[in-house]
Amino acid sequence: MSTATHKLLKGSTGDWEMVIGIEIHAQVTSNAKLFSGASTVFGGEPNSHVSLVDVAMPGMLPVINEECVRQAVRTGLGLNAKINLRSVFDRKNYFYPDLPQGYQISQYASPIVGEGEVVVDLDGGKTANIGIERLHLEQDPGKMLHDRSPSLSFIDFNRCGVALMEIVSKPDIRDAEQAKAYVSKLRSIMRYLGTCDGDMEKGSLRADVNVSVRKPGGPLGTRCEIKNMNSITFIGQAIEYEARRQIEILEDGGQIEQETRRFDPNKGETRSMRSKEEAHDYRYFPDPDLLPLEFDQAFVDELKAKLPELPDQKKMRFVADFGLSAYDASVLVAERESAMFYETVLDKLANRARDGKMAANWVINELFGRLNKEGRDITGSPVTAEQLAAIIDLIGEGTISGKIAKDLFEIVWQEGGDPRALVESRGMKQVTDLSAIEKVVDDIIAANPDKAAQVKDKPQSLGWFVGQVMKASGGKANPQSVNDLLKSKLGI
């Protein structure tokens, strides 16, 4: 594994290294909440998806939702992590109006998933290995609404009790790029697995980022935790700001206070929320309403056998089977939908082995390029995988040239239609008929005797002749045939 060098920050006293650990809260994809049968559907009228358990009515008891357990195990497997066959639910006690029980059911000493590791993809095809400390299941609280009345706050419990996976990284992350890549990778893995929809705007995926700085290789510094980040871009900005803030304090001879901070995306800065002294004593203890969560290895094995192909495996397969570069492969697999699109293209191709790599180039350069330009995502692509495969088939079999294909792509993007039929109806077919091309070649050689004479000494000027012939044929001549013909006629 090629370990990436990470970014150091320059200070007045020299270089500083960032040490970053991330806790991700990922909402588990499931129909019902972690300990009640209430629906997890997003939106809906406030307090319309609430059970007696969710609002902690007297005498109500939690019952574990097995689907959430399966999802946590799947995610653990996706993170190459140790699955704990026995784990314990604990109560994290604190008072807040959005927390009806007065405690959050979480896992403290014995989480469902233990140590693991993920490989994150960095610029230039480099990678970094980031350790996973643990993954545990816990309940989401409700949501306070402060904007409905000048004097009162309201609470929406729809979200209360929804299952979250808290995924804690080891402090292995060394700069903002790695941090962003790590969150992207986890998001990608969970989306492949179908265990979290990864929708950060809706709050399905949030991150708490712990940042400290130190002299490279030196002892760990005091960390600050930046809470509740719901954008990968903000995570990068917050880390940069926070690390520089800490360096400034340290270089001025100050000390870092361990505290919880909040990132203000408008000002691009972090601000103190509460200090260590104000931190809660959560009085964790095993929840006596729930038995320890136990399952056997067969349960894990069965889930493992049914796991979908994950981004890393897919990437390796693309590289091995179609000769894609590691970078191209990682671009294709980063989003599950992109990978699915590419694979559908592959499925439809007449000759996958021959054109698989070309298909990757088309998806990445033409399709993604065009989508980005219009701010669309792959699921809203006007060109379907079937249409793109047809275009690539046409190139691969020599019916159209790459240049014509771009025009064809544009027509399909704008107007739709069957690419093969369009090539026919609009006369876009490549000319491979030698006699037709020969006439053009002869005319051009005859019209440019000086250049024809020079080409023997300067074979690289052959390209000029190819260009002239292609131009004269309206791009429809087969470039290989043109090349061959020119060579024989010019005697090189």
């Binding site: 009515m57 007297p58 005498g59 109006p97 009806p100 009085r283 964790y284 729930l290 038995l291």
Partner: protein
């Protein structure tokens, strides 16, 4: 018709089946008795209309020959059980006029089997107490008085209302709950039969929680047979309570009258306390002699960690309670005392809503779970708990079928007599009963005699997990030998 109230549940069942009287008559007789006994303060909510309508429905079913196991039997329900549409408060001000939209699993099973609800019974606030003196509705009177005295005594707690109502013949049986002795101690104080089944035998769903790992529902009844009949309906697996156990509920009544010949009864030496009243000692020996006479074999056993049980209990139970009671915060239901901000709202609500004993236990529990104290208190108490459990397992592994102990260290005492300055004085009431909760075992208290002041005393039998049947068999032997005890009506 008032003598209908003096029937046992088994006798009433026969009378109803034979159509000697109707459930409505039986229910009315009890409603009259309740009205006449308000001075006992056993009921905190009477539901006569609901009782009569349930009785009529039972009579219709009986007329059609559709006789459920408890068809037409009027019962009282401890106010810890959520009853749909009927105020449920756990006898705490903090729940105010809370009316559940749901029915506890245990009570719903009683109604399924045809029982009739007379009303809700008094208990210590959130079941925290051993004298039923911490209820926000005031103390409950014990139908028993010392001979020649008109001092009102406590019925024990926390199921004081249940015990008092059953002893005073206000209901044919009652639901109760037991976290550290709250069924068995009041049963012993009132000459009623109370069984705390094995942890997991009854669903806790819909019962206001005190200490989740210890709480267990059970009946208080007029006889061992009646207790067996009630438990059969109350018990059973409930998917809504994952700590309830999926084991078939046996016909407990079939255990009544079964021979106890050859059974090995353990007499734990650690339960012989210094300064234990001679009459308790005598009662215990008498009980052992009765069992021996019935063919059981007596063996001395050792439960070496017994002395740590009470202190460990008073760490574990308050710890769980401090967390369980966090939900009473004035935000969603029950009492709300406004404040200038949310912290003040919490503080005002909880200060106003919780009584002194509940506040004390919430504070103890919060303390023992706090950072820096957790290992020294909570964790250590859990280790003690494991050792206590092992004590019993070792004992049962040696072939012991049940263990005989006194139920309480004394008979009932006067209201306000104990625990006024030192709460531990009150906590010591549970000395013989808490071990059973800590180990999750079944325990039954059976009336066995009277002290020199004429107050009832009980014996406790502790059984193997899920072997309530043996307790019923043995309990009935004691009941037969000791006879029945009925208080002289003074109310």
């Amino acid at each position: 018709m008032t003598d209908l109230t003096s029937l046992t549940l088994a006798e009433a069942r026969k009378g109803l089946a034979d159509k000697t009287f109707t459930s409505l008559e039986l229910t009315d007789a009890h409603l009259d008795a309740i009205e006449a006994a308000r001075v006992l303060n056993a009921f905190v909510m009477e539901t006569p209309d609901q009782a009569r309508s349930m009785a009529r429905a039972a009579d219709e079913k009986i007329a059609k020959g559709d006789v459920g196991p408890l068809a037409g039997i009027p019962l009282g329900i401890k106010d810890l059980f959520a009853t749909k549409g009927v105020r449920t408060t756990a006898c705490s001000k903090i729940l105010g006029n809370f009316v559940p939209t749901y029915e506890s699993t245990v009570t719903s099973q009683l109604w399924r089997d045809g029982a009739v609800m007379l009303g809700k019974l008094n208990n210590d606030e959130f079941a925290m107490g051993s004298a039923n003196e911490t209820s926000c509705f005031g103390p409950v009177g014990n139908p028993w008085r010392r001979e020649g005295s008109n001092t009102t005594l406590v019925p024990g707690g926390s199921s004081g209302g249940s015990a008092s109502a059953v002893a005073a013949l206000l209901c044919m049986g009652a639901t109760a709950t037991d976290t550290g002795g709250s069924i068995r101690q009041p049963a012993a104080f009132t000459a009623t039969v109370g069984i705390k089944p094995t942890y997991g035998r009854c669903s806790r769903w819909g019962i206001v929680a005190f200490a989740s790992s210890l709480d267990q529902a059970g009946p208080i009844a007029r006889s061992v047979r009646d207790a067996a009949m009630l438990l059969r309906s109350m018990a059973g697996h409930d998917p809504k309570d994952t700590t309830s156990v999926d084991i078939a509920v046996p016909d407990y009544e079939a255990a009544i009258g079964k021979s106890v010949k050859g059974m090995k009864i353990g007499i734990p030496k650690e339960y012989r306390l210094d300064g234990m009243p001679a009459e308790i000692e005598k009662l215990w020996s008498e009980g052992a002699a009765w069992l021996k006479a019935a063919g059981a074999e007596l063996v001395e056993v050792s439960l070496p960690h017994t002395k740590y049980a009470l202190p460990a209990y008073y760490i574990v139970a308050p710890a769980e309670a401090s967390s369980n009671l966090a939900r009473y915060d004035g935000v969603r239901y029950g009492l709300r005392e406004q404040g200038r901000n949310i912290i003040e709202l919490y503080e005002n609500t909880r200060a106003e809503g919780f009584g002194a004993e509940v506040r004390r236990r919430v504070m103890i529990g919060t303390y023992v779970l706090s950072a820096g104290y957790y290992d020294a208190y909570y964790l250590r108490a859990q280790k003690v708990r494991t050792l206590i459990k092992k004590d019993f397992e070792d004992c049962f592994a040696k072939g012991v079928d049940a263990i005989l102990t006194p139920a309480t260290p004394s008979a009932a005492f006067g209201i306000g007599e104990k625990g006024g300055t030192d709460p531990v004085e009150m906590y010591l009431n549970d000395i013989f009963t808490v071990t059973v909760n800590m180990a999750g075992l079944p325990g039954i208290a059976v009336p066995a005699g009277k002290d020199r002041q004429g107050l009832p005393l009980g014996l406790q039998l502790i059984g193997r997990p899920f072997d309530e049947e043996t307790l019923f068999s043995l309990g009935e032997v004691i009941e037969q030998a000791a006879g029945r005890f009925t208080p002289t009506r003074w109310w």
